[in-house]
Symmetry: C2
Subunit: 490 residues, 2 copies
């Protein structure tokens, strides 16, 4: 096996899923055109992609006392191969547990070459987004696991793993399907990052406060970084009126199309802000391509590297000093934006995250681009995003209005949710802005919180590395101990 | 208040529900005809009927320490008024708990005058049965309760009540929405009566064994009853060849149309068998109209009364004796079939239970007409109903094939289900054939089983009566004690 196991070690598999698990028939475009066929329509199925590694799996035939468990990764809003190739925690521990490893792709998120991945309607999927809900995704996982148990004629415990949205799914999977899932490792899972349903527990500005923390000396970044970022460069109103002019700004930032208006400048500023966000999430102690979808490495501690560009003192009383600061900002954000080193120009981002944005717009799953900033607890400028504005944007983009209460209705208040469940480890990293929406307090002894002060976005799921801080080494040990205990207590 | 509170004491209310809770948009007949409107379609809502009684509800304003709980009835496969008018357990205890009483109607089961009740598509509902699933019904209840809590600006504990399918829903509601439901009284809930998913725990023949038990001396019935029923009268093959002839049979049983074939005779036999079934379910110690949908009383212990007709010794060596036995069988089954005393003829039943049968055919919910008999452990004749036959029948009737594994996938194996949950009382009656699919063994201290040897179908939910056996008085006390404990342990 490769030093770091990956998709090359796994078998690639496909599973027929019902497009809609919660109605007994499915209607589709072709089936309903012209006449309504009602009861004569057939269930519409789609193919779900999943990867399996079975060489660690201990079976009774091997002389073991009983069949080993299943380690199941709850695929996120992305190509599942990213999680196969990154989730070291599963790979490094499966052998000791004699576990079967399964990574499942989330419906509608196979990306590219849609027909070959978990896209129920291929290139037409945008016409059928109504089936893209986390409820359906969990049912996909439950049905897939049931089938795997039946095919192998076993009924072995399943441990769910996931990071970020995958971590939310892992936790929710344990909550809603406790007989399917023995326990869950929910890493950096912002299950309370829903500014309506969990208002008391979550403030969007906390998210950007953590991004800003990553740029502070306390997090190892240059002392001047926060002041320099805060002073000018991503402050959209300042940029707009900037006496260098739009043409000069366009040139300094190498925008793919010239900046022409205030809103163009704001979009540029938001693009830069999102680069700081991504670097904070990916502020790992080693080079990693996780946040670039596997395309190119960002360096170890990318926020520190970015902040090194923002370390000098810039004299903003003259155009040269001002331009130098903007060039520094460009260089800083290029750590992410041009991680591949072959990006000729900055494409100013207008829309964020495609189908994921649809999930925000329909079920209010977490979406950082809608969280507010205040310019006080963070190094950015004040943005006040109201539910009204969100509803308007969502109507324009997707023709849906967010249902602000569905997740709260399904899972309950934060306190009630934590009291009602068991066998979940929630981990949060101090460098990770998503910790703002994570589970940070709990009184249920059957729920475990793990704090990783020097950790970025679910560092605990990654492969072990000599550069790991002690806190993540300890976090992983805690997680494994809990898995062992869950498996012991039948 | 009336001695027995009923719909007359309640306020009648309506709530707008999404037809489909688990997709983010709903498509409908009109909206998709001709062209697919995709993202431009709007959510389709339907009205759910529910009854509320709030005069017992203790609120903070009344000086109480905190707001009282909600007693919530999970409506079954029938007009919700039946449950409002019959569920004495809720009415008799709500005042002591200071509880708000809510009875919710199950989608698609308002019966008659469809547009005025919980029928999402009115008279066209049969074209849209795909939304008739227990998953959707539970979501209806969760959304309704969330809205009631919000409207009243409270977050009070909810106790779910239900009998039979309503009891299954109450238990499942606690399992799937533990933050919505503090605890559940699941009376006569045959959650394991699914002959495929729970094969080890349920045999359909056990159902008819209990029906037969009700006709035994041990259950207070005449000694000759079982032998006389078993000897001839509902044995379809015997009836067919019976030398009295089809015309004579038609006349003796007063069938609405003459019997013309073997299958007509089998249908008659099945109708009689279902009458014994219903009398067994309704084998209460007092007259009750519960099993006649409120239309007319059956007498106390209707099986005993029916068996009194079957008590003589019939001489089957001559036609007169044979005819006398058939007349006796007619008189016995008329306790149910002609409970209203104005039924001029027997309409031989071909189809059972309408929309409920659809739920059997799609999700394999319990349906006694598909359970096998063997003529050995029961007083009927051997019927062997295979999954193949069920699938064929369901295709013919509804255009669907049962999904034999959905409930098992969602709730897990019997053992795992019981281990994974808490705060449920499962009660079962010794006279109730549905006890065959109920929870009869359990090792989880947070789940309570209550046995009512002299009880028929969820007798414990009924109004108290001087004729109640001690076992049901004790059962109700146990249930109330548990509710009190659940409410104490926040």
């Amino acid at each position: 096996m490769d030093p770091r196991p990956n998709t090359g070690n796994c078998s690639l598999n496909w599973f027929d899923q019902r497009v809609d698990h919660f109605t007994t028939l499915n209607t589709t475009y072709k089936q309903v055109r012209g006449e309504w066929h009602g009861l004569n329509t057939v269930s519409r199925v789609c193919r779900q992609r999943f990867y399996v590694y079975d060489k660690f799996w201990k079976r009774r035939a091997d002389g073991s006392k009983e069949d080993g468990p299943i380690f199941f990764y709850c695929g996120n809003e992305g190509d599942v191969t990213l999680y196969v190739n990154s989730t070291g925690l599963m790979w490094e521990n499966a052998q000791a547990f004699g576990a079967l490893i399964v990574f499942a792709e989330h419906r509608y998120f196979g990306t590219q070459a849609a027909l070959r991945k978990s896209f129920p309607f291929g290139d037409q999927h945008k016409d059928h987004l109504q089936y893209l809900t986390h409820d359906q995704a969990l049912a996909d996982y439950a049905v897939l696991l049931r089938s795997l148990q039946q095919q192998n004629n076993v009924d072995v415990p399943v441990i769910a793993f996931g990071g970020s949205y995958g971590g939310m799914l892992a936790a929710w999977f344990r909550i809603k399907y406790p007989t399917t899932i023995r326990g869950a490792i929910a890493a950096s899972a912002p299950i309370f990052a829903n500014s309506i349903g969990y208002a008391d527990n979550f403030q969007g500005t906390d998210y950007w406060k953590v991004v800003t923390h990553d740029a502070s000396p306390a997090a190892g970044s240059a002392a001047n970084c926060i002041p320099n970022v805060a002073r000018k460069t991503v402050d959209a109103p300042l940029l707009e009126g900037f006496h260098l002019g739009l043409a000069h700004l366009s040139s300094l930032f190498k925008t793919c199309t010239p900046l022409k208006s205030r809103s163009d400048v704001e979009a540029l500023a938001l693009t830069l802000m999102m680069a700081w966000d991504t670097m904070a999430m990916g502020n790992f102690p080693f080079p990693s391509n996780y946040l670039t979808e596997g395309k190119a490495d960002m360096p170890a501690f990318p926020v520190r590297v970015a902040c090194d560009h923002m370390a000098p003192t810039f004299d903003l009383t003259n155009d040269n000093g001002t331009a130098a600061l903007l060039v520094a900002m460009k260089a800083a954000t290029d750590i992410f934006t041009n991680a591949t080193r072959d990006v000729a120009c900055i494409a100013v981002q207008e829309d964020y995250d495609g189908n994921w944005d649809y999930m925000w717009c329909s079920q209010l799953l977490a979406q950082e681009s809608y969280f507010n900033t205040n310019g006080v607890t963070d190094m950015f400028w004040a943005r006040n995003i109201t539910l009204d504005k969100i509803a308007r944007d969502c109507q324009t983009k997707w023709g849906v209005t967010p249902n602000p209460d569905w997740i709260r209705t399904v899972y309950g208040s934060a306190d009630a949710l934590l009291k009602s469940t068991s066998n979940i480890v929630f981990s949060n990293g101090g460098f990770d802005p998503w910790s703002s929406g994570g589970v940070l307090a709990n009184s249920n002894p059957q729920i475990t919180l793990v704090d990783i002060p020097e950790g970025a976005h679910h560092l605990d799921l990654m492969f072990s590395d000599p550069r790991d801080p002690a806190s993540v080494v300890q976090a992983r040990q805690t997680e494994i101990q809990h898995i062992r205990a869950w498996l012991r207590d039948a």
